[in-house]
C-alpha cells in the first residue's frame, strides 16, 4: 500500500476585519484524511461554497500555509511543519489545475509558451526535450501540438483550454494533480470529456487526482474516495460508493437530496397549459 495523501490535524485560520474588531474564520478545522491504495486514485472533495474545499486545495498546493498540522503526499511532507521538498521538487510532485482556464493563461501570450516554461523551469528540460514533452503532453489530452502552437486563449473553447491546462500539469510527471472545480466553467455537454480524461490519466499514466467540486454526480462517477466538507470540517470521508450509497452524516444526506436528478421530482407540478 502506498500512502497517497494524509493530512494530520490540518487547521487554517484567517483573520478578518481590522485591528480592533478582528474576527477569526476557521477555514479548515482539524482535517484528518488518510488515503492509502495500491493504485492511483481520484479523491473527490465536495461541499458548498465556503466549506473550506478551496483552502484545502491551496494548502496542498502550498499557496497557503496551514496554521497548524501538516499534509503528506506520497510519503513526503509537503505542507506545514517539516515540509522538506524544494519548490522545484514540490512542483514535480504536485501540480494544479484551476477553475477558470481563461484566467489561468494570459490573453497576451500564446498558451504553448506556458507549457514550454513548465518543461524547462520545473522539469529542467532543454529546448528539444521540452518540445517533445509538450507534444507528448498535448497528445495525451487528445490535442495536436500543430493546432495549438502559437495560438492565444481566445482561439480556444473553454473545454480545449482546460485540456491544455491538464497537459501543462502533466509535463513534470507529477504524482498528484489538484484540480479545483475544473469543469464548472465548461459547458455541461463537454464536462464529461475532462472527467473521462482524468479517469484515463489515472488508469493509463498512474496519476492521482484531488478533484474538488460541488457537483456530486461527477464526483460519484469518477472518484475512488470522497470527502464531504462543511464549515471547514470533513464531516464524512470514505470509499466513494459507500459514502454515496449509504451516507451517515445528515449533511451528506442533505447534499445528496438536493441534486436535481431526472429520477424523481422534488414536488409534483401543475401540468403545462396550452
Amino acid at each position: 500500500m502506498t500512502l497517497i495523501l494524509k493530512t494530520e490535524g490540518l487547521n487554517k485560520v484567517y483573520r478578518q476585519g481590522g485591528l480592533v474588531r478582528a474576527r477569526q474564520v476557521h477555514a479548515l478545522r482539524d482535517v484528518n484524511i488518510t488515503v492509502e491504495s495500491d493504485r492511483p486514485v481520484v479523491i473527490a472533495v465536495v461541499g458548498e461554497s465556503g466549506s473550506g474545499k478551496t483552502t484545502l486545495a491551496k494548502t496542498l498546493l502550498r499557496l497557503e500555509t496551514p496554521t497548524s498540522g501538516h499534509a503528506i503526499v506520497y510519503d513526503r511532507v509537503v505542507a506545514g511543519k517539516g515540509a522538506t521538498p524544494t519548490r522545484r521538487e514540490f512542483l514535480g510532485l504536485v501540480q494544479p489545475i484551476f477553475q477558470n482556464p481563461f484566467e489561468a493563461f494570459s490573453r497576451y501570450r500564446p498558451v504553448d509558451a506556458y507549457l514550454h516554461e513548465t518543461a524547462r523551469r520545473v522539469a529542467g528540460m532543454d529546448e528539444s526535450q521540452a518540445e517533445a514533452a509538450v507534444a507528448h503532453a498535448l497528445d495525451s489530452v487528445g490535442l495536436n501540438y500543430g493546432e495549438v502552437r502559437g495560438k492565444y486563449t481566445s482561439q480556444f473553447s473553454g473545454g480545449e483550454l482546460q485540456r491544455i491546462s491538464v497537459a501543462r500539469a502533466l509535463i513534470p510527471q507529477p504524482r498528484l494533480i489538484v484540480a479545483d472545480e475544473p469543469v464548472s466553467m465548461i459547458d455541461a455537454s463537454r464536462r464529461m470529456i475532462i472527467i473521462n480524461l482524468f479517469k484515463r490519466l489515472r488508469d493509463e499514466q498512474g496519476r492521482s487526482f484531488l478533484y474538488i467540486t460541488h457537483d456530486l454526480a461527477t464526483a460519484y462517477y469518477i472518484s475512488d474516495f470522497i470527502a464531504v466538507m462543511n464549515k471547514g470540517q470533513v464531516v464524512e470521508f470514505g470509499v466513494a460508493r459507500e459514502v454515496m450509497s449509504n451516507p451517515q452524516h445528515a449533511y451528506t444526506r442533505l447534499l445528496l437530496d438536493s441534486i436535481p436528478t431526472t429520477n424523481s421530482r422534488w414536488r409534483p407540478r401543475a401540468l403545462a397549459a396550452g
Binding site: 459547458d187 442533505l254 436528478t261 414536488r267
Partner: protein, 303 residues
C-alpha cells in the same frame, strides 16, 4: 402567450454580422414554466434579451417579429415597441449572476423604492416589501442590510423578491442558480415554482443543467447554434428525445447510484462530446406539441 415568428437576432461586430438567433418560430403558452437549454453561444441569452425587449446595439433584430399577449399597465396590448415601459410592471428579468446586480452602495429597502415601477408612496412600498420578503424566507433584518452583508443565496432571494414584487405576467430568469451550491439551489428553485403557482404567470428559465429543467419546467426548448433543436413538454423530451443533440444533453448527466451508466457514459462522452450537429431551420411536429428540427431524416450528426 408569446409568438416568435421567423425571428433572427444578429450582432454587428466590425464588418461581420453574427446571427445569434437564426430563424426561430414558435409559440410559448401562458401560465407555465418553460426551460431553455443549450450550451454557451447557442443563443439562449440573446433570445431571452430579445423577448424582454432589450435589443441594443450591437445587437439588432434583422428579421421576423415577436408578438405578446401581455396587457400593459395602461390596459393596452404590449408590443415590441412599448415593451420597455412594462419592465418591472408586467414583465421582469432576473439576469445572469443576478446576485451581483444589486446596487452595492444602498440598503436592500432602498432598492425596493429605487425601482422603475415602484409606487410613489415610499412607506406603503416598504411595508409591503417587508411583508413580502418574509414570505420568501428572508429575515426582516435583510431589508436594512447592504448587499455585501448577505450571502449569495440571500441576495438571490432578494433579486427574486424584486422581480416578483409586482406580480408580473412574465418573468425571465437567466441562469438563476448557477453560482449557488446545490442545497441553496434547491431552495431557490422550489421558491420560484411556488411563486409561479401562486401568481399563475409564465416563467422562462435558462439553465444548462438538465436536472434543473427536469425538476422545474413544464415545457422545454433546446437550442443549438442559434436554432431551436427541439421544443415540447418536458416529460416528452426526457422520455423520448428526438434530436441527437437533445439525447446527448440528457446522457451527459451522470446519475448517482446508477452504475450501469458508468461504462456507457465513458464511451459516449469521450467520443461524442466534441462532435457538431446539423440543425435544420424548420421545426417538424412529430407528436402533438413536440417539435423537432429535422431536415434529412436521421442525418442529425454532421462530422
Amino acid at each position: 402567450m408569446i409568438r416568435l415568428s421567423d425571428l433572427k437576432i444578429s450582432y454587428r461586430i466590425g464588418n461581420r454580422v453574427i446571427d445569434a438567433v437564426d430563424g426561430v418560430t414558435l409559440t410559448i403558452p401562458d401560465r407555465c414554466i418553460v426551460g431553455i437549454a443549450g450550451e454557451s453561444g447557442s443563443g439562449k441569452s440573446t433570445l431571452m434579451k430579445a423577448i424582454y425587449g432589450d435589443i441594443q446595439s450591437p445587437m439588432y433584430l434583422s428579421q421576423g417579429r415577436i408578438d405578446y399577449s401581455l396587457k400593459g399597465a395602461d390596459g393596452r396590448p404590449v408590443t415590441s415597441e412599448t415593451i420597455r415601459r412594462e419592465w418591472f410592471r408586467s414583465l421582469s428579468y432576473i439576469p445572469q449572476s443576478s446576485m451581483n446586480s444589486l446596487n452595492p452602495v444602498i440598503r436592500i429597502r432602498e432598492q425596493f423604492i429605487d425601482f422603475p415601477g415602484s409606487d410613489s408612496n415610499k412607506k406603503r412600498v416598504l411595508e409591503r416589501a417587508r411583508a413580502y420578503i418574509g414570505k420568501l424566507g428572508l429575515p426582516a433584518e435583510a431589508m436594512d442590510s447592504y448587499p455585501h452583508q448577505l450571502s449569495g443565496g440571500m441576495r438571490q432571494r432578494v433579486m427574486i423578491a424584486l422581480a416578483t414584487f409586482f406580480q408580473p405576467e412574465l418573468i425571465i430568469a437567466d441562469e438563476p442558480t448557477t453560482a449557488l451550491d446545490v442545497v441553496v439551489q434547491k431552495e431557490i428553485l422550489l421558491l420560484l415554482m411556488e411563486l409561479q403557482e401562486q401568481m399563475g404567470n409564465t416563467i422562462l428559465v435558462v439553465s444548462h443543467d438538465m436536472g434543473v429543467h427536469y425538476q422545474v419546467t413544464q415545457k422545454m426548448l433546446i437550442m443549438y447554434a442559434g436554432r431551436v433543436v427541439e421544443y415540447g413538454d418536458t416529460d416528452g423530451i426526457f422520455s423520448d428525445p428526438q434530436h441527437p443533440y437533445t439525447r446527448m444533453l440528457i446522457d451527459s448527466l451522470p446519475t448517482i447510484g446508477d452504475d450501469s451508466l458508468r461504462g456507457v457514459l465513458a464511451s459516449t462522452a469521450g467520443a461524442g462530446g466534441d462532435r457538431a450537429f446539423r440543425v435544420e431551420p424548420h421545426l417538424v411536429e412529430v407528436k402533438p406539441g413536440h417539435f423537432v428540427a429535422r431536415g434529412e431524416h436521421s442525418a442529425g450528426v454532421a462530422a
